[in-house]
Structures are given as structure tokens and as C-alpha cells.
Amino acid sequence: MITATDLHKEFNGGAVKALRGVSLTIKQGSFVAIIGASGSGKSTLMNVLSGLERADSGTVVACGQDLSAMTDKQLNEFRREYVGFVFQQYYLLPHLSVEKNVRLGADLAGNKNYLREIEAVGLADKLKAMPSALSGGEQQRVCIARALAKKPQILFLDEPTGALDESTGRSVLDYIAKLKAERGFTMVMVTHNRNIADMADSVVEMNSGKIIGVTDNPSPKSAYEIGW
């Protein structure tokens, strides 16, 4: 479970108010989708919830730990222990091959079976490729495999299918959903595609740094049932 209370976050000395009083509860093992206009604060919220960044005020309690009271070192350990992150900009390490990038995540969890994740995102034939030789969508899938291979208890995905076509997108989402059912992790996903939000247990809508609506979804759809 993640509980965020009255989060505020400013940039540039207050010129940009990215979060303006966000409170949110995410149940253990649930799938929450975050939607909202560009610049509405979705990535910032994910960064704060995952312990990548600190809010200016407000608290975040995740997995029974109060992130707002942690030192940087403790936050680091928290991420290592619990968090997987699929970045909006992928952030692969340019000097490491696909396999090594994924292993980077797997090693932290002592996961020897990381080839499974690479296969599942359809990159088994690109093991030795360097990130610069991959298409945008392929890089995105490496990033997804890297996060999954870390076996996180909370998986944050920032626009994870933005660069994927419909069929690849569906199969990747389907695999993520399957792993989620298997391992029972909590999942928070930012998406611009409202159809994908239909897969979630609840949908949080943001606008200019605030949550303007939370809709529970009693019957989440599968990756092959949603529209695209």
C-alpha cells in the first residue's frame, strides 16, 4: 500500500508548481493508472511516490515505510528493495548491451532468470545489441524488461507503451499483467491512452498539479480486450 498525503512540489524557486496538494491511496497489489495533460505533474508524482525525488511538503508512506522521513541513503535502499521504474525517457546505459542493461536490474534481485523477461518483450534476438542500435520502441522494451527483471514489489511505469505499436503494445502489457498476477506487485502507470487505463483497478486524473478525479473500475479489462 502507498499513501500520499498533501504533496507539494515546486521547481525554479516556486515559478513552477508541479504538485499542489496531492493525496492518494494505492492498495497493495492494485493497478492504478494516472492520466492527465502534458505537464500536469504525473511524472513528478511518480518520482515522489517511488522515492526518486522528495516532495517539498507532505508525506509518502509505502510498504509501511515513511519515505518523507528517510535519508538519501535510506531512500536508495528502499528503491533497491521495493521499486521498479520504467522511465519515460528509457534511460538505458549506453555502453552496455541489451542483456547487460537487463542484468543490471536482475542482479539487484538475485534474479538469474532474466532472459525470460527479455524474451517476453520480444528482444531475444537483440541480446548483444547496444542501445544506440535499437529503435525507440525496442529501447522502451529493454527498459520494461530491466524493471521487471528486478522483481519489484511496486512497479512504476511512465508512459511505457508510448513508442510501441498496437500489437507489440498489447503483448507487452499482457505480459506485464501476467507477471503481476503471478507475483502480486503493485503497479502505477502513467498513460496518455485512456483505453489502456481500462486495464487498471482505478484511474487517477491529474490537472495542473492536482488530482481532479479518481474513478474505480470494477471490471478491469485484459490487454486484448481494450481498444487502442
Binding site: D72, N76, F85, F87, Y91, L96
Partner: protein
């Protein structure tokens, strides 16, 4: 994990610099220690020759060894700093995944490895050339000076620098990792206090870009200037020394001066261009011409390169004057020194040619790299 093979190739520069410094120090210090062993056995007329010889050894060692060590230390420290600063993004990504600062920082021991390789090779080469040096320094009628192995030199010239530089690299890495993760992965730069002056209308966009490039990369600017300083000082000093000392010494110092100077210049220019790779790629994508790109990004370093060169000239002149005309004034074996105008122009000419060549070669090489590769290698 953190540092790839490609980076290792870049570290080669550090090895070269360390090699030069340790090489010179090894044979001179070794000679100095060994020669002292016969100190008691020398008397009478030979004593004068012996003392002169020792002074000469001290003199050469003090000037070249001292300058070389200084250069090696400054270059290595700066190179490590530039490397870590320039790769903040990588470390940010690892940090975001939860790798601990210590674990990331410890992988920087490889910087010590490149020091070790250079220093060990320099130590070996120093020993290899020792018979030649000892023969060169022999004085007729004096007891022969035997080449002895001194463990303390190995410790001081190889082990100590390796440990020191490894520790420095790890420590600096650890310090620079104490930053906001998000700012590291996003920008790769420390959250710079944006003290931007209001845009001066008189500057064109390109001039503005040039200024902000330089302002944003002050350490690269310093590195370029320092490398030019090294080249200028080492080369002129080497040329002068070949007049003042024995031929073999002069040639050796000259060769080392050239190796070191060229390496420094090469490292500086590579660093300058790498630091501007993504700007170059973006400007290329927007359709700026080669000339505009070169003007806005690379030419900005030229004044600083020339400044470094000028300081190097003055520095070596002052150093030589003080050493020769003051410190060793009453030693007859050391000739008098005056500023070598010819040497200055030789150095300046080769410097300009080298600098221009290296810039051109790298600009061409970068133009061939696909834009995407440049961006993703950021």
C-alpha cells in the same frame, strides 16, 4: 559495470602521463641514491667532479621530475573529475535503480589501474635505461656506481600513486553522487545556479551559444588551457635542456616533452569535443553548417588554448632562469640560460599545426556519427 571498455581506452591518456613522470623520476632518483653510496670514497680532485655530477642530476631531476609530477597529478585529477561529471547520467540511472553510492563509487578503482599500468611501465622503462644513464654519468677514476634496486622507490613511484589516485577517484565519485537522483538522470549536470545574464542583443545567437557553452563547461576550458600550458612548457624546456645538459638527457627530456605534450593536447581536444557532442549533433540536425558549428562550439576554446600556451612559455622561462642563474649559478657544469626565441617559434608552430589538425580530424569524425548515436551516448 559502470565503466566500459571504451572508457578504458580514454584512460590510456592517464597511463601515458604517469609513464613519463615515473620514467624520469625512476632513473634519476635511483642514480642519486646509488651515487650517494660512494660518497665517502670520493675525495680530492674527484670530489669536485662528483659534486658537480650530483648537482647536475639533482638539477635535471628537480626540473623535469618536478614539473612532470605536477602535470601528472593535475591532469589525472582533472581527468577523473571530468569523467565523473560528464557521466553523471549513468550513475544517476544506477542510483535510481537502487545501487548504493558506495557500490558505484568503488568501481572507480579502475582509474587507479590506469595509473598503475603507466607507473609500472615507467618504472620498468626507467630501470631498463639505467645502464645507459649510469654510463653517461660515469667519471673516470671514480669507483663505479652499481645499479641497485630500491624498494622504497617502487613504493613511492608506483604503489603510492596507484593507491592515491584510486582513493581519489572513489572519493570524488562518492561525493559527486550525493546529488538529487532526478537531476542526475535528467540533466547529467549538477543543478547549476542559473545566473544568466540578460541576453545581450549585440551578440548573435551563435556567439551567445559559444559563451554559454564555455560557461557551462569551465572545467573543460581549464583542461584545454592546462594541456596547452604543458605542451608549451615541456617542449620549450626539453629543447633548452638539450643545450644545457648532456645530449642524451636533452634528447630524453625532449622526447618525453613531446609525448606528454601531444598526449595532453589530444586528451584536451577529445574532451572538449566530447563535451560538446550533443550540441554539435543538435545543431547539425537543425541544419547549421559545419563552419557555424565549429565557430560556436569549438573555436571558443582557442583564446584559452593560447593563454595556456603563453603562460607555459613564461613559466618555463622563469623556472629555467631561477634554476640556472640563481640556484645553480656557481656550478660550472650548468651553462648559462637565456630565452630561446627559436625554440619558442618551433613550439608555437608545431602547437598551432597540431591543434588545428586535431580539431579538424575530430570535427570530421563527429560529423560522420549518426545523430541518434550521439544523443544516446550522452
Amino acid at each position: 559495470m559502470v565503466i566500459g571498455i571504451k572508457d578504458g581506452v580514454k584512460l590510456f591518456g592517464i597511463s601515458v602521463v604517469c609513464f613519463c613522470a615515473v620514467f624520469v623520476c625512476t632513473f634519476f632518483l635511483n642514480y642519486y641514491i646509488d651515487a650517494q653510496a660512494i660518497d665517502g670514497a670520493v675525495s680530492g680532485e674527484l670530489r669536485v667532479l662528483y659534486d658537480a655530477n650530483m648537482t647536475s642530476a639533482k638539477f635535471t631531476c628537480a626540473i623535469t621530475g618536478g614539473v612532470l609530477c605536477l602535470i601528472a597529478v593535475v591532469m589525472t585529477v582533472f581527468y577523473i573529475k571530468l569523467f565523473i561529471d560528464g557521466n553523471a547520467k549513468r550513475f544517476g540511472i544506477l542510483k535510481a535503480m537502487g545501487y548504493s553510492d558506495n557500490k558505484i563509487a568503488l568501481s572507480f578503482w579502475v582509474f587507479g589501474l590506469s595509473t598503475l599500468i603507466g607507473a609500472a611501465a615507467g618504472y620498468g622503462a626507467g630501470h631498463a635505461i639505467m645502464p645507459l644513464i649510469y654510463r653517461e654519468m660515469t667519471i673516470d677514476g671514480m669507483p663505479a656506481i652499481a645499479i641497485n634496486y630500491h624498494a622504497e622507490l617502487l613504493a613511492a613511484l608506483v604503489v603510492a600513486p596507484t593507491i592515491t589516485f584510486s582513493a581519489f577517484a572513489c572519493l570524488y565519485a562518492k561525493l559527486s553522487l550525493r546529488r538529487n537522483v532526478v537531476s542526475m538522470i535528467k540533466g547529467g549536470k549538477a543543478a547549476a545556479k542559473s545566473k544568466r545574464r540578460p541576453l545581450d542583443k549585440q551578440h548573435s545567437f551563435l556567439a551567445e551559444m559559444c559563451l554559454s557553452t564555455l560557461a557551462g563547461k569551465k572545467s573543460v576550458v581549464f583542461f584545454v588551457a592546462f594541456a596547452c600550458f604543458c605542451y608549451s612548457a615541456m617542449l620549450q624546456m626539453g629543447l633548452t635542456m638539450s643545450d644545457l645538459s648532456s645530449v642524451i638527457m636533452g634528447v630524453m627530456i625532449l622526447v618525453i616533452g613531446v609525448i606528454l605534450g601531444v598526449t595532453a593536447l589530444f586528451m584536451a581536444i577529445t574532451t572538449a569535443i566530447n563535451a560538446n557532442k550533443s550540441s554539435i549533433a543538435v545543431m547539425k540536425a537543425f541544419g547549421y553548417s559545419d563552419k557555424e558549428r565549429a565557430l560556436s562550439l569549438l573555436v571558443g576554446y582557442v583564446p584559452f588554448a593560447l593563454l595556456g600556451f603563453a603562460i607555459g612559455t613564461v613559466y618555463q622561462h622563469v623556472l629555467m632562469t631561477v634554476m640556472v642563474n640563481v640556484v645553480f649559478a656557481d656550478v660550472k657544469t650548468v651553462a648559462t640560460y637565456s630565452f630561446g626565441v627559436g625554440y619558442f617559434f618551433i613550439t608555437l608552430g608545431t602547437f598551432i599545426a597540431l591543434y588545428a589538425c586535431a580539431m579538424a580530424v575530430y570535427a570530421v569524425r563527429i560529423n560522420r556519427v549518426p545523430i541518434k548515436e550521439i544523443m544516446s551516448n550522452e
